[in-house]
């Protein structure tokens, strides 16, 4: 076989061409994507909540990329999400956050579900100076660790007590006696203590104020004691499976009150599905509800846009976890676009300056990184549907007392 000079030349060009083609996507990859990392509890006890986060972020990702990507200094970059399952094991969440930053080289982090695991991931993010936006942590103890890179879309729990007590006193002037039962766990305990203090401050008598242990399979002792106290308002706080059991046992034991609040029971669709008629009349607090109508920045300009798209895709209503997590991604995108770069430090500074409204509501971070307080929705199940009782600007129903 004889090669002419042209033959050699074309062989070299061909080889070089193949090499360039082989390398170029990698070069393009590194420069043309914005990488987001998320340690998620896709298996284990938090699997349900993590799936909600996953759904929300993938919806956002599809929407952003369909529009060409994130506008970084006039250039559209595709968004990429790297997820790892940390199996609901906090320690593993930390390890995977580290892996995401050091080996996957993600630009920004989205935080896992719950205050505890958010705290762990935030510590790692702080060490590597990587901005992290949390969407499901509402305990202030997560945000008082001096993390400069942690931001959270939920408002502090404290905004949930005063307005609720006031509303119920208005609607039920004879309201005097309150019973509080909470799960002995970070969030529910804070809620139980908060509402009990707010009720006392408003001049109500707290006739029962107890916590139940994690793993309690029977609430009849507590409920019998509450029944003896004859309260006008029963406030129970815990996780969905506990609240379903408590509500069921209340009905079994014939325990009734004009107002029954379960936090955050009715904020979750599965609570209403799991209880059927027994869910009717139950009130709760929530961080978000689709009945709100906000307009603002991001891929979903209005609450309705988000709701409609979610409904079409998931065939069910979103809850506050979906909305808050989608909002976290929207806020990150907004900060990147304002910074005009993916530089971690500059984006962090823009995040700190955030003062925008999104489909989820206003987002403005306090000095500790937590979204500032606002009037959070008080909701009630009426005829298996959620009605918003307060605040006045988004209300679409009135408190109906349980007979």
């Amino acid at each position: 076989m004889h090669f002419t000079t042209t033959g050699y030349a074309s062989a070299i060009i061909l080889t070089a061409g193949i090499a360039v083609i082989a390398i170029s996507p990698r070069l393009a990859d590194a420069a043309d994507v914005v990488k987001f990392g998320a340690p998620l509890a896709l298996t284990g006890s938090l699997a349900d909540e993590a799936k909600k986060q996953d759904v929300a972020w993938k919806m956002w990702l599809a929407k952003v990329n369909a529009a060409g990507g994130i506008n970084v200094g006039g250039k559209k970059l595709k968004a990429e999400l790297v997820e790892y399952d940390y199996q609901s094991d906090g320690q593993r969440a930390g390890q995977l956050a580290e892996k995401l930053i050091t080996s996957d080289k993600v630009d920004f982090l989205l935080s896992p579900f719950g205050s505890g695991h958010t705290k762990i991931v935030a510590t790692i993010a702080e060490r590597y100076e990587t901005p992290v936006v949390a969407c499901a942590a509402s305990s202030e103890s997560v945000f008082d660790q001096n993390s400069k890179h942690l931001f959270g879309t939920l408002s502090p729990n404290a905004g949930m007590f005063g307005p609720m007590v006031k509303l119920f006193q208005e609607k039920l002037p004879t309201l005097k006696r309150v019973a509080v039962l909470g799960r002995d766990d970070v969030f529910p305990k804070a809620m139980a203590q908060g509402v009990s203090a707010a009720a006392k401050a408003a001049g109500l008598t707290v006739v029962y104020d107890q916590l139940y242990a994690v793993g309690t399979m029977d609430h009849s002792a507590a409920l019998s004691a509450i029944k003896a106290g004859n309260p006008d308002w029963i406030y129970v706080t815990g996780y969905t499976q506990d609240l379903i059991l408590v509500r069921k046992q209340m009905s079994d034991l014939g325990l009734k009150a004009p107002i029954v609040t379960m936090v955050a029971g009715p904020a979750y669709k599965e609570y209403i599905d799991g209880l059927g008629n027994l869910a009717n009349g139950i009130t709760s607090s929530s961080w978000w509800h689709q009945a709100t109508s906000y307009k603002g920045v991001g891929v979903w300009p209005t609450t309705e846009d988000f709701y409609k798209e979610f409904l079409a895709k998931e065939k069910s209503d979103p809850d506050y976890v979906h909305a808050s997590c989608a909002a976290a991604a929207v806020i990150l995108q907004d900060a990147i676009e304002r910074a005009g770069t993916t530089d971690k430090k500059k984006v962090r500074d823009e995040l700190a300056k955030t003062d925008v409204t999104t489909f989820y509501g206003p987002v403005k971070f306090s000095a500790n990184g937590m979204n500032q307080g606002r009037d959070l929705p008080i909701i009630q199940v009426q005829d298996k549907q959620i009605k918003v009782l307060a605040p006045a600007d988004i209300k679409n129903g009135d408190l109906s007392l349980i007979k």
């Binding site: 284990g44 006890s45 349900d48 107890q210 002792a221 507590a222 499976q241 379903i244 079994d252």
Partner: protein
């Protein structure tokens, strides 16, 4: 009057505990296997019941025999194909194996069914006898628990297979010499354990939300009941369950719900020190 209500609550709860623990106790007693799968098997029974009810309108009671048999088949197959390979190893080996199997089953259910709490919304109401309230579904669960436990007791005492199980438990080498196929007996025993877990799942689906989040709690309860009642014995599990239920019920009233579980665990620790064989004091030779 209030005490009587607390006592009734405790007994009804205790029967549910007994139901939950009897299969676990049997497997531990006969095979010397701490079956970490037990909680997840109960939840699996619950899911089967829930889906039968939601999808086809089948009432839990009608689903019970089918669910129980399915779980028996699953347990039998698992023991024969997998666990028998290591059954004579130290308890830590079998514990690790069932722990691994539990991870698989637990996460399978979480992924395919999601951990969303679901409930069979059959609200049967409550019976009020002279001011003492008894929820119909729990009462029903209690009756079923008693019947199942009694049946198991009879099987263990009267049937050939039951006697073979007891024989293998007492001395597996001697039993083998008598012509008992020990591996089959192991499989049958594990199958019965799974069957009881499935039946418990059906009963619990009417009382508790069905979710994988509860699997660990069920397993923990089974442990406590077995230690209190005595290992491997059917009446022991019944006694342990009822004692635990009544104690938790009264503790909840006197010390508050925050400490009800603690009192149960303290009782377990005390018994481990003063009477390690449990309340029934026998080691399950029915």
């Amino acid at each position: 009057m209030a005490y009587l209500q607390t006592l009734v609550n405790g007994i009804v709860l205790g029967a549910l505990y007994a139901c939950l623990a009897v299969g676990f106790s049997l497997v531990w007693g006969v095979l010397n296997i701490v079956n970490m799968l037990h909680g997840s098997l109960i939840v699996l029974g619950g899911y089967l019941t829930f889906f039968a009810w939601q999808g086809y309108g089948i009432y839990p009671l009608l689903a019970l025999p089918v669910v129980a048999l399915l779980l028996f088949a699953l347990g039998y197959a698992l023991q024969l194909a997998v666990i028998n390979r290591v059954v004579s190893e130290p308890v830590l080996t079998t514990l690790t194996l069932t722990f691994g199997l539990d991870l698989i089953l637990y996460n399978f259910m979480t992924v395919y069914y999601t951990a969303t709490p679901r409930r069979v919304t059959l609200d049967l109401g409550a019976i009020d006898i002279g001011g003492i309230v008894m929820p119909v579904d729990r009462l029903f669960g209690m009756l079923l628990a008693l019947v199942l436990t009694a049946l198991l007791y009879l099987v263990m005492r009267r049937s050939r297979i039951g006697r073979a199980i007891v024989a293998v438990r007492m001395d597996s080498a001697a039993a083998a010499l008598m012509g008992i196929r020990v591996n089959r007996i192991y499989a049958v025993t594990f199958g019965i354990g799974a069957l009881m877990a499935g039946a418990t799942g059906v009963i619990f689906a009417m009382v508790y939300p069905v979710t994988t989040n509860l699997a660990g709690i069920y397993l923990g309860k089974a442990f406590v009941v077995c230690v209190i009642g005595g290992l491997g014995s059917v009446p022991g599990a019944l006694a342990g369950g009822i004692v635990l239920g009544v104690i938790e019920s009264f503790a909840g009233q006197f010390f508050g719900p925050q400490h009800a579980l603690t009192v149960g665990f303290v009782l377990m620790l005390v018994l481990l020190v003063v009477k390690p064989t449990g309340l029934t004091g026998i080691k399950g030779y029915e």
